[in-house]
Every structure is written in structure tokens, then in C-alpha cells.
């Protein structure tokens, strides 16, 4: 099942805009290595899940994967071949809004080589450019 909130205040949300860089959620906290976005954007629940599966297939039972983002935003769309007007469309999917610098995934319990390999596979699924990140000592 795709990720989405259990309860919401409103079914539909405005688009909004992504300003600046991530001032929180921008460092590795749970694991030893992380995958950080270089661009801002919307990452759909299906994409987050696709990334998780890609990483899990590489890791098998080894190591542990942490997902650091959650799709809080509902994205609406109108059906094809519909005339303009008649109000806002219906919720289509859920997305996580990420600023440049947000850590998307983290891995622990594997070597750096394995983590790099795993994130390379995962990065193919992402709609944004990403970079590899290590935990900082201080």
C-alpha cells in the first residue's frame, strides 16, 4: 500500500512553492550513510515505495533502510478530455515536498561500498538529482 496520511484536515492542498534549502532533515541521523537531494521537488508515494523496493532488493536481509520523508501533500488532477472549469480536480496521489539538501533515505549496517551501490540503484528511481552523504563526527 502506498504511503499517505491517516487523517487530514483538508482533502486538497494548494501547490505552493519550494524556497531555499533544507535547514532541517539535512543530516544523517539514524544510519551511517544517507542519500541527499540536490534539487527540490515533489516525490510521490509510489516513487518513495519504488526506491524502497530497489534498495531492499539489493540489501536483501542485510543492513537496515530508513525512509526520512513522508508524503503529506495531496496532488489533484483532472481527467483527460475534460473541458476547462468545473473546479479543482480530485486527489490523484500523495507527494513529499523536498527542499534541496533533504535526506531521503539512510542505511546502516553495511559497508560504504555496499551503501554506495545500493543508493546508485535507488537514485535511478528518483525524480531529483541526489548525492551520497556520510554521518558527520561533530
Amino acid at each position: 500500500m502506498a504511503l499517505m496520511p491517516k487523517r487530514v484536515k483538508h482533502r486538497k492542498s494548494q501547490r505552493g512553492r519550494i524556497k531555499g534549502e533544507a535547514s532541517r532533515g539535512n543530516r544523517v541521523v539514524f544510519g551511517e550513510f544517507g542519500l541527499q537531494t540536490v534539487q527540490g521537488g515533489w516525490i510521490s508515494a509510489a516513487t518513495i515505495e519504488a526506491g524502497r523496493i530497489a534498495a531492499q532488493q539489493y540489501l536483501r536481509t542485510e543492513g537496515r533502510l530508513y525512509i526520512r520523508i513522508f508524503p503529506h501533500k495531496s496532488v489533484t488532477s483532472i481527467p483527460l478530455e475534460t473541458r476547462m472549469g468545473k473546479g479543482k480536480g480530485e486527489p490523484d496521489y500523495w507527494a513529499a515536498v523536498v527542499r534541496p539538501g533533504t535526506v531521503l533515505y539512510e542505511i546502516s549496517g553495511v559497508s560504504e561500498e555496499a551503501a554506495r551501490m545500493c543508493f546508485t540503484r535507488l537514485a535511478h528511481k528518483m525524480p531529483v538529482k541526489v548525492r551520497f552523504l556520510r554521518r558527520r563526527p561533530i
Binding site: V8, E32, R64, P91, P100, G101, P137
Partner: protein, 210 residues
């Protein structure tokens, strides 16, 4: 031996001046502690980067101020590549400090060959130790970690005179049998849309009015 940093007095505070300072190749720092007044300082970025790269926390300040200092906090930019600001506290070498140290695993666990998985549960531990003995990280050797074995906080090799804050029985790393992820429930049972807060009450009110 403590590393040496050259510092200058910073006359202007605030983000505008701090940005100018960073663009000119210096990093704004602050020195406080021991009941004395705070001093706003700046230090060359190259020197500070070298100190942080070497992993030393105890610093000898020279130049505008000649004191021993301890790196209390480092602020990084979003990408974790540039230091934005550093907090120093005044310290004497035999004084005890509370620091959070990174726990790093070394070696290969024989339990992995037996079909186990090494799980690193605690990445940072808080310790109290003499400032001169603070190391960059705590290294844990897992060369003897067999399947079912665990290393606790009490087993960690701490610097001389150090004590751990928190539960000493907490497991830092263990080697366990892999657990397969439980299969997800059928999609039919899962709701397709989240519950809207207050929607039910409105519906009930509507039916009452009718």
C-alpha cells in the same frame, strides 16, 4: 598535543557581517565559559577545517586571545561541506566535559558468515571525560562478534577517566538472524483516501437537518 588556532576579535556581529567574513575566508566563532564574558572572534577557514578534519576537540587559541578552548558545537551548511560557525568553551586540560562521541565499528563479524546480520543500534554515546582525553570517536572491534552475541555500552573502551551517561546495559551492536519483512496486508482492506477531520460531524449534522 592540542591544535593551535589563530583568532582575531570580531567587532561586528550579525548575519550581514558574518557573511562578509565567510566570503573573505574566515569563520565567525564565539568563546564563552568559566563565568567570563563572551568574546566574538574569527579564525581562518583553512586552519579551522584542518582542526576539524584531524578530529581534535581541544584547541589552543592564539592571537587576540590566548586560552585553551574546547569545541562545543559546530554549525554546518546544508550540504555538510562548509563550517558556518563554531562555539568554543573555555577549559582547562584536567577539567571534565560532557561530549557526544560517534561509535564506529571496526572489522568483520564472524557471525555474518554464520548467516547473521550485524545491527548497529547506537551510533552516538554521551560520555563525561577529561578534556585532554576526548577522542574523535569510539572504535568498537567486532572481530569476535558471533551470531547471537551483542556488545553493550558497558563493553565500550572509553578514554582514560571517562564515564558513560545513560544505560550501561543498552546494546550498541549485535549480530542476529535476519528477519524477513512481514508481507503487507491486502490492498483491498486498506482505505484509498485518508479520513478528513470534521467531515463526519458535518455529515451527521446534514442528516439531522433533513
Amino acid at each position: 598535543m592540542a591544535e593551535v588556532l589563530t583568532v582575531k576579535i570580531r567587532e561586528h556581529a550579525g548575519k550581514h557581517h558574518s557573511r562578509r567574513l565567510r566570503n573573505s575566508g574566515s569563520i565567525p566563532v564565539v568563546l564563552y565559559g568559566h563565568g567570563k564574558e563572551n568574546v566574538c572572534l574569527s579564525t581562518p577557514a583553512e586552519q579551522l577545517d584542518a582542526v576539524i578534519r584531524h578530529g581534535s576537540r581541544l584547541i589552543d587559541l592564539t592571537g587576540a586571545v590566548s586560552e585553551s578552548a574546547f569545541i562545543r558545537e559546530v554549525q554546518w551548511d546544508t550540504w555538510g561541506t562548509h563550517v558556518l560557525h563554531v562555539d568554543f568553551t573555555r577549559i582547562s586540560a584536567d577539567e571534565k566535559v560532557e561530549v557526544q562521541l560517534l561509535v564506529e565499528l571496526r572489522g568483520e563479524a564472524p557471525g555474518v558468515k554464520e548467516g547473521g546480520v550485524v545491527e548497529h543500534l547506537i551510533h552516538e554515546v554521551q560520555i563525561e571525560c577529561p578534556a585532554a582525553a576526548v577522542s574523535e570517536k569510539l572504535e568498537v572491534n567486532i572481530n569476535s562478534l558471533k551470531l547471537g552475541d551483542s556488545i553493550t555500552v558497558a563493553d565500550l573502551k572509553l578514554p582514560e577517566g571517562a564515564s558513560v551517561h545513560g544505560d550501561p546495559t543498552a546494546v550498541v551492536v549485535h549480530c542476529v538472524e535476519p528477519v524477513e519483512a512481514p508481507e503487507e496486508e491486502a490492498a483491498e482492506a486498506a482505505p484509498t483516501e485518508p479520513e478528513v477531520i470534521g467531515a463526519k460531524e458535518k455529515e451527521e449534522e446534514g442528516t439531522k437537518e433533513q
